[in-house]
Amino acid sequence: MAAQKWSFKMTPVRMVMLALAALAVAIAIYRLATGLGTTTNLNDQWPWGLWIGFDVLTGVALAGGGYSTALLVHIMHINKFNVIARSAMLTSMLGYLLVMVGLFLDIGQWFNFWRPFVSWGYHSVLFEVFWCVSLYTMIQVIEFGEIATEKVAKSWHKPIKRIMPVLLILGVLLPTMHQSSLGGLYIIEVGKLHPLWWSPLIPLFFMMSSFFVGPAMVTIETTLAGKALGHHVENSILRSLVRIAGSLMVIYLALRIIDLANRSALGYVFAGGLESNMFLLEMVAGVIIPIIIAFSPWSASRSGLVTFGVLTASGVVINRMNVVFTGMYQALGPGYFPSWMEWAVTIGLVCGAVLAYLFIAENFNILGNHEEHEPA
């Protein structure tokens, strides 16, 4: 191995992102020092807002690429997907770190964040979410240790490699649990969350969507990385990944329709109004069209793959937003729109994560495949 060298090219875009991230850090400190009332527009009617809705609920879903790839590559050993394994897991780890920061900023008694580790409210879905997300984030950091120790603290590489199987299995088990539990949080909103989204099956829907959004994110990410970092993944590999997602989306679509029919809620779909329109947008643009793309000849080309990726990821974002905001609107009423500081923190956190990704991708062996060789 070559001697340690660190590099980080500064471009104008990266400067802007750095500035945005710095702004987010400043606001975060201000928030921790002065409270939530001074920084957010949250109120007694809308106790959860952008930070929980986007940074946490949506962030965890979009980071689902980590465990879906891990399942395919490391558990099922489908070797052709090796090339994307490391970058997908890196995105996922950064996503979860971002989620942890978002959560930490959102809780009122932040110095008390560790309480549920000792005071067990095990009857709460949030308890499962809290444990699984914290453990999984930790596991991902150790998993990343396998990559990091190729370059730094090399003596740790062997021991980490030895426990990798356990980490990998837990690394699929834990996210399966908490991805569904994030949906499970909303079961108690029975009678408040609109019937288009409230369902006893909402945990299953959250889990499935977090799984199929994985390939979508991988497609977007490898295309961006291909441009920025000269990393190229063959279309055929992405296409078979996208088709796995597409098949799952067919089942998902069918289940959601059957579920609506079972609860006699199908009538709401075309009832008009905010809820119906947002639901249709979510299902048509975010599920049905991507399915068609995945199984059409278009998905052989990069543009088809990227369109699939963008639509599917947007569909999942819209779904989470619909659960947190649209679906709760009738019950909670108007009265919340995120403050500029809430937006700034959310945007800055994402910028920070992108910069971290670029730094790590340029300095560690991420984009090469799993076999030992020098980074391209």
């Binding site: 002065t34 009332g37 009122g108 499962e128 949080l185 009678g191 408040k192």
Partner: protein, 269 residues
């Protein structure tokens, strides 16, 4: 099951807000300068410093405009959604009935606010380290705000000059409620809190529909924690089967791919 209840007979309430003031005084809650909203309601909703308010509403009864008043606060559910939602056990149900908040355990996640079917828990948004605020039923066994633990009535009940609020065993309160309803045709035939969300310890009777005060009347009668339990009970079997399956798959497919690799060296990519 023995549990302490309050029966609120809205036909007796004159809207004097003595209970609201008594609650502030007993619990050392700061007051603010009044800005009336919704007729003479102030503040318009309970908040981080206000456990209870008396809502003033003009509504129609037998073709005439009438004024009616409703004291609102935590209903102290028999099977509280908030308690089941709290992942730090900061909200707990006491055997006597009151649902009590232990602020030292609270993380400030506000899931309880979303879980409560009556929108009761409020947050001290203006504080640097905000806490949840809700009626504690004057129950504070080891603290200075206790009344019920000493065998007294809650401060509001004690203060009401009109006998709108009466305090006793839930069974007796329910019996009394139905006796009044059946003995006088003016009452709506509904004890609010008898079945809502599995039943609550605050029970209301009224001569105008409860919707007039914005009470939610479409609440499920099944206790909310049961919904969550029906999902969470799958966690252990799911961990066992999915975890086992993953382990099996891991070793089975690893062996298969190792064998394949031996056969032809370039299968990896």
């Amino acid at each position: 099951m023995l549990s302490k209840s309050v029966l609120v007979d809205l036909t007796r309430c004159t809207g004097c807000k003595a209970c609201q003031t008594a609650c502030k005084q007993w619990n050392d809650l700061p007051a603010t300068f009044p800005e009336f909203d919704n007729n003479l309601t102030f503040p318009s909703k309970t908040d981080g410093n206000t456990y209870t308010i008396v809502e003033h509403r003009v509504t129609e009864k037998d073709g005439q405009d009438v004024m009616r008043f409703a004291k609102t606060q935590c209903l102290h559910c028999l099977e509280p959604a908030c308690v089941s939602a709290c992942f730090a056990k900061a909200l707990q149900k006491t055997p006597e009935g009151p649902i009590v908040y232990y602020s030292n355990l609270c993380v400030g996640c506000r899931y309880c606010m979303l879980a409560c079917p009556f929108g009761v828990p409020k947050f001290e948004w203006d504080e640097v380290f905000p806490l949840i605020a809700k009626c504690q039923y004057c129950f504070d066994p080891n603290g200075k705000y206790d009344r019920v633990g000493h065998g007294q009535q809650p401060a509001c009940v004690d203060t009401c000059p009109n006998g709108t609020l009466i305090f006793g065993e839930r069974e007796d309160m329910l019996k009394e409620a139905w006796q009044r309803i059946n003995g006088d045709a003016k009452y709506v035939k509904h004890v609010y809190g008898e079945k809502e969300a599995g039943g609550t310890n605050w029970l209301y009777i009224s001569d105008v529909p409860f919707e007039a005060f914005g009470f939610r009347t479409n609440i499920t009668e099944k206790p909310l924690p049961e919904y969550t339990h029906e999902y969470l009970k799958w966690t252990p079997p799911l961990i066992a089967t999915w975890g086992g399956l993953l382990t099996l798959m891991y070793f089975y497919t690893k062996r298969r791919s190792d064998v394949a690799k031996d056969d032809s060296k370039d299968i990896g990519v």
